[in-house]
């Protein structure tokens, strides 16, 4: 027989025992400590932005875009070669990394055996590659792409290296976007006689586009700000011309900033801060676009 309510002896409660014996103070204090921790991070970000804006404002003008870098005349020096170099390198990186990354993601989500050895090897490998320090990619670029493949210190070497660097990010975000497309869409397409690839090309990938695009933009913004691997790939010399092809020498904005920061004269530091503003505005624009895409086109299935 199971016990009934009547079987249970009434609890005798002494007055006061059920009252909270914790004081309210540690609760509130703890909450403040948490908020303070978050505030330190956010205030540092605010201080960084304010510092860059204030120190860069005097040189944030048209000359920055129209003039070339100069070692002798910081007053009229600009960053045109770095800005065009960044555009060259990033567009090339996008052209290489996006198709490869999306294809790899499609393979991992739609083909192959998820419990197979190859599949698991690729998966763990991508997770590790995402956390390999960026300077190690510079070593890969220097040893294999620049010297062994003899592509030299050129736009294409930089783009290939940065492509390898951001591939894991593109693959991981595209996989998430593909996984979010419900199975019923695939079954519906297959039931109408579409082949596997037709289903992927005409149904799955279009449905996954907002997520894929968001991830791609974030990956490319990582590549735009990356300087360490390119230090090993020849971007560090003063370049006073715009790239004119994939085999051209180049420099990019983060490297130009590094160059100017390394100069001893203060006028160069002002220039560096001004170029930081350009770089941050570009990144803010890209991040904004990513958030906009996500909010506007993301479907809730």
């Amino acid at each position: 027989m199971s016990p009934t309510l009547d079987d249970i002896a009434p609890l005798e409660i002494e007055a006061g025992t059920l009252q909270s014996h914790h004081s309210e103070l540690p609760e509130k204090g703890f909450r403040w400590v948490l908020l303070l921790s978050l505030a330190i991070a956010l205030l540092t970000l605010a201080a960084l932005l304010a510092f860059i804006l204030v120190s860069g404002a005097p040189r944030f003008n048209l000359q920055l875009f129209t003039n070339m870098p100069s070692i002798r005349l910081p007053e009229i020096a600009g960053a045109q070669s770095a800005i065009t170099g960044t555009i060259w390198v990033i567009v090339t990186t996008a052209v290489i990394s996006l198709p490869v990354g999306i294809m790899a993601a499609v393979y991992l989500e739609e083909y192959g055996n998820p419990n197979g050895r190859f599949h698991r090897l690729v998966e763990i490998n991508i997770q590790n590659l995402a956390a390999v320090p960026s300077i190690v990619y510079g070593i890969l670029g220097l040893g294999v792409i620049a010297r062994a493949l003899a592509l030299g210190q050129t736009v294409i070497t930089a783009a290939l290296t940065l492509s390898l660097l951001i591939l894991p990010i593109i693959i991981i975000s595209t996989r998430e976007a593909i996984r979010a497309v419900p199975q019923s869409i695939r079954f519906g397409s297959m039931a109408l006689g579409a082949t596997k690839w037709q289903t992927i090309w005409k149904q799955v990938l279009p449905a996954a586009t907002p997520g894929t695009a968001t991830g791609a933009i974030l990956a490319l913004s990582r590549a735009i700000g990356e300087a360490a691997p390119l230090l090993l790939l020849g971007a560090v010399t003063f370049i006073t011309f715009n790239p004119n092809g994939l085999m051209s020498s180049y420099t990019v904005m983060p490297i130009q900033i590094y160059n100017w920061v390394s100069q001893s004269r203060d006028a160069f530091h002002v220039l560096a801060a001004a170029l930081c503003i350009v770089l941050l505005l570009l990144l803010l624009l890209m991040n904004g676009a990513a958030i906009f895409l996500r909010n506007k086109y993301q479907k809730r299935w």
Partner: protein, 315 residues
């Protein structure tokens, strides 16, 4: 009309022509192979990294004994009478990583507890992207900020004897840079803790703080530790902040007010000069790179394992 062209199957069933496979789909097979090749590029990347590191490293160790490299206390590989003791670089790396972790681990974890347990959904939806903006700032800009603002404006008034290039400012700024990594991964782990555990805690009369600290954090511990390990790995591998703000002087010292060279900033400095292939200067870049890769690789693996562990338990 249609009936006339219907073919008979061996078992007598009928298939209308439009249902028959039109042609063998070689295209599908080719696409499958192409996709596989794209996935295999990630493996080739790892092979490429190991190969590009290993060959010059082996050449390096045929010139320099391994024990001299690992236990030597002088690092001056590009001088006329070179010394190849890597300890000053390892020391610089660990000191700066230590400072960064002292900042990032507590602040990141506490931020994660706030976001996961205390913030309302709307507050979290606003704060999280702002916090992640911090992770999107290029590291060279953080380096500039450390050199010109943190050292000059914040630290100099407190420590007048601080050097222009110093480990402290680089470590502090690097710590702030890593906060979003720690916070975001820890929060993911805490979000995966089932609600029943929290409700059990409340049913036993715990307060919100007790549930957060004594129930949620222990339950998410493997994910949180994974975040910490990844933070250490990122700090060890970070290049631009140290290259700009910590100086390029190898320094076997624990004085954080002095400049220090790390493994990464050595690679950056030596690699940006044009070292001829095969020279000992060229080979040192790869020897130090191998050490760096091994250290971060070990930590990444530990971190990946730990994340798997909590996923297995709760998802």
């Amino acid at each position: 009309m249609a009936a006339a062209s219907v073919t008979l199957r061996k078992d007598g069933g009928q298939i209308p022509p439009s249902f028959r496979q039109s042609s063998p789909r070689y295209g599908e097979k080719v696409i499958g192979v192409l996709l596989l090749a794209a996935a295999a590029i990630s493996i080739l990347t790892t092979v490429g990294i190991i190969w590009s590191l290993l060959v010059p490293t082996i050449q390096f160790f045929s010139n320099v004994p391994v024990t001299d490299f690992l236990f030597g206390t002088q690092w001056s590989p590009l001088f006329a009478s070179p010394e190849f003791g890597v300890l000053p670089l390892v020391c610089g790396t660990l000191v700066i990583t230590g400072i960064a972790c002292l900042v990032a681990i507590p602040l990141g974890l506490l931020s994660a507890i706030y976001l996961s347990e205390y913030a309302r959904p709307k507050t979290r939806a606003t704060l999280k992207p702002i916090l992640e903006l911090l992770a999107g700032v290029p590291t060279v800009i953080f380096g500039f900020f450390a050199l010109e603002f943190v050292t000059q404006v914040v630290l100099k008034p407190i420590f007048p004897e601080i050097q222009v290039f110093n480990a402290l400012s680089a470590g502090l700024v690097m710590g702030v840079m890593i906060i979003p990594t720690v916070a975001s991964l820890s929060e993911d782990a805490m979000a995966a803790v089932p609600h029943g555990l929290r409700e059990g805690g409340y049913a036993l009369g715990s307060t919100k703080r007790q549930v957060a600290v004594k129930v949620v954090v222990p339950a998410a511990l493997s994910g949180i530790v994974a975040a910490f390990v990844l933070a250490v790995s990122r700090a060890i591998g970070e290049t631009m902040i140290v290259a700009v703000a910590a100086g390029l002087q190898p320094n076997l010292s624990l004085n954080v007010l002095e400049g220090m060279q790390t493994m990464t900033s050595f690679i950056a400095a030596a690699g940006s000069g044009d070292q001829p292939t095969g020279s000992i200067g060229y080979q040192t870049i790869f020897a130090v790179g191998t050490l760096l890769f091994l250290m971060t690789f070990l930590m990444n693996m530990v971190s990946i394992r730990l994340v798997r562990k909590y996923r297995e338990v709760y998802e």
